[in-house]
């Protein structure tokens, strides 16, 4: 399988805190790769740097053969790499459908002059059809015209995924897609991700629910203290002594 994303020596500090101390990993196309590690390992910071929301201090991010290090987030999204947020942050006063439409790429109606003369109506219409299809797929059609702020927690998580899909991505970074979601819906989200992966979208997932990772993700990348610790199948990393130490602390005193 081909490599879709490569991260090399990524570093980032926030004042004195060295959140990333030279992270290296790669994500192969067609996988649902997990990124796990204890709190403070630097997983979210890695996402911020890869998606362009926070510029890295050093290192490189190569997406689909292109060096995207330090690009603005909008440009990275247009290149085919998009992300969701850990705490769902939809545009609360826009409807679910408008939230989806916001992520539609190549909309001529976003230009001032085109918007005045109702240009880009065809593109908008096509995007609307696609948004409805995505809302239907994610069981959001019932609430498609509700304000995004009025959704339940689980629906907001689904909307996060739906918005990312609207951007026509090749790779989606999911930051805790099932945190705080009930087990039934979590299973449903996992099914969606499997289906979308079969449709050709690659996922890199930060998640703390190990049972879900065990069933959904391969391979699993483990981070600790701003570095990649190890990588392998879930069974391999779960059996790894270093990983156990990173999560539980070493047994120095036992």
């Amino acid at each position: 399988m081909t490599e879709l994303l490569r991260v090399e020596g990524l570093t980032r500090s926030f004042y004195g805190v060295r959140a990333l101390r030279g992270v290296d990993f790669c994500v192969r196309a067609g996988t649902i790769t997990a990124l796990i590690g204890p709190n403070g390992a630097g997983k979210t910071t890695a996402f911020q740097c890869i998606s362009g929301v926070v510029p890295p201090d050093g290192g490189r991010v190569i997406f689909a053969g292109q060096d995207v290090t330090g690009w603005r987030p909008d440009r990275i999204t247009r290149a085919g790499l998009t992300r969701t947020f850990q705490i769902a942050r939809g545009i609360s006063r826009l409807s679910v459908l408008d939230n989806l439409l916001l992520y539609a790429p190549r909309q001529p109606g976003e230009g001032v002059l085109a918007a005045l003369v109702n240009g880009g109506a065809a593109a908008e219409e096509a995007a609307r059809v696609r948004a409805i299809a995505i809302a239907r797929r994610l069981n959001l059609l019932r609430v498609a015209n509700n304000a995004a702020g009025a959704l339940s927690g689980g629906q907001k998580k689904l909307l996060e995924i739906g918005r990312a899909l609207m951007a026509e991505p090749r790779l989606v970074l999911l930051d805790e897609p099932i945190a705080g979601v009930n087990p039934t819906l979590a299973e449903e989200i996992a099914d969606h991700l499997r289906g979308l992966c079969q449709d050709g979208i690659t996922f890199l997932v930060i998640e703390h629910h190990m049972d879900l990772i065990a069933r959904l993700c391969h391979p699993v990348i483990v981070m600790a203290e701003g570095r990649r610790l190890t990588e392998g199948s879930f069974a391999e990393v779960a059996a790894d002594r270093q990983v156990q130490d990173a999560y539980m602390g070493s047994r120095r005193w036992a």
């Binding site: 999204t77 992300r83 826009l94 459908l97 439409l101 880009g120």
Partner: protein, 302 residues
């Protein structure tokens, strides 16, 4: 009295046009702009100077004023790209004061505090004062209507959707693939262009411009108009402007209703009444008289 009422209708038109311009910058894109009177002044001076010094036709001057406002707006948006909220408010307020002080001091160009007088008005010579007010009221409200329609269209378009997204959460808009700064510059230029155009109309209506006319108080009134009317909606902007003029002007007649008060007391009471009315409106309807609605779209896929 008819002339006075018409003059008030004209002023309500200026406020409505300014509130519409502000609505693009603040109502849709969420950038607080306490310097809007500066763009209004730039438009007024551009039109006045072109007309008086270079004898350029009025319509050309109006276009130039809108462009001058737009350019100033785009520049200010680029300069303040990293500022938000209170900080943006202070810088924009400073901008409008710089415009006013420049107009006061660059005497060779603006005539300083003496201002520029004898600015021609459309058909002014051929009409009675009442007739001129009538024509101008029609003109300004016609402009308001066309502007509101055009901006309403923009607001309902994908362009408006991106501006709203930037207002609510810039990071989401960026991750959605939208170049945030480019959209902010466009919104600022568009709104400031409307403000500059309003300034040009004001110069030709009043026949005289001087720095004194461009006090920050105008900005405050327009911000109040938009807040009370409803940020994010064009109808709200227009309604709020009429309301603010009705409150500030209507209270002039308090001494007819309340005899036996000294003029000073009347003046104080007037301000208190305006303040109270706005507090009541915003308590009763925190989103303004015309609240922004979540758009409902047809769901059946074609």
């Amino acid at each position: 009295m008819a002339s006075y009422l018409l003059a008030m209708a004209v002023f309500a038109g200026f406020y409505a046009l300014m509130a519409l311009g502000l609505n693009v910058i603040w109502g849709l894109a969420g950038m607080i702009n306490l310097g809007l009177v500066g763009f209004f002044a730039i438009g007024a001076y551009t039109a006045a100077l072109l007309s008086v010094k270079l004898h350029v036709p009025m319509l050309v001057g109006w276009g130039a004023a809108a462009i001058a406002g737009s350019v100033a707006g785009a520049l200010l948006a680029v300069v303040t790209a990293r500022l938000k909220g209170d900080y943006l408010a202070i810088v924009t307020l400073g901008f409008s004061e710089i415009v006013r002080l420049t107009a006061s001091n660059e005497i060779w160009l603006t005539g300083g505090t003496d201002g520029i007088s004898a600015i021609p008005g459309p058909f002014r010579g051929a009409l009675s004062p009442l007739g001129f007010n009538l024509v101008f009221a029609g003109l300004i409200w016609g402009v308001v209507a066309v502007t509101a329609l055009a901006l309403g269209r923009l607001s309902a378009s994908p362009f408006g959707r991106v501006l709203r997204a930037i207002r609510e959460d810039e990071m989401v808009a960026a991750v959605a693939g939208k170049p945030v700064l480019a959209f902010k510059v466009r919104a600022f230029a568009l709104g400031a262009g409307v403000l500059g155009f309003a300034g040009a109309l004001y110069a030709h209506y009043n026949g005289y411009v001087a720095p004194d006319a461009f006090q920050p108080l105008i900005t405050i009134y327009v911000v109040l108009a938009l807040t009370a009317g409803g940020t994010g909606t064009m109808r709200g902007a227009m309604l709020g402007a009429v309301l603010v003029i009705a409150l500030t002007e209507g209270t002039r007649f308090l001494d007819d209703v309340l005899p036996g008060l000294a003029p000073v007391q009347i003046a104080a009471l007037r301000e208190a009444l305006i303040g109270t009315a706005l507090i009541v409106i915003l308590t009763w309807r925190p989103q303004g008289l015309v609240a922004e609605r979540t758009r409902v779209l047809q769901l059946e896929a074609l």
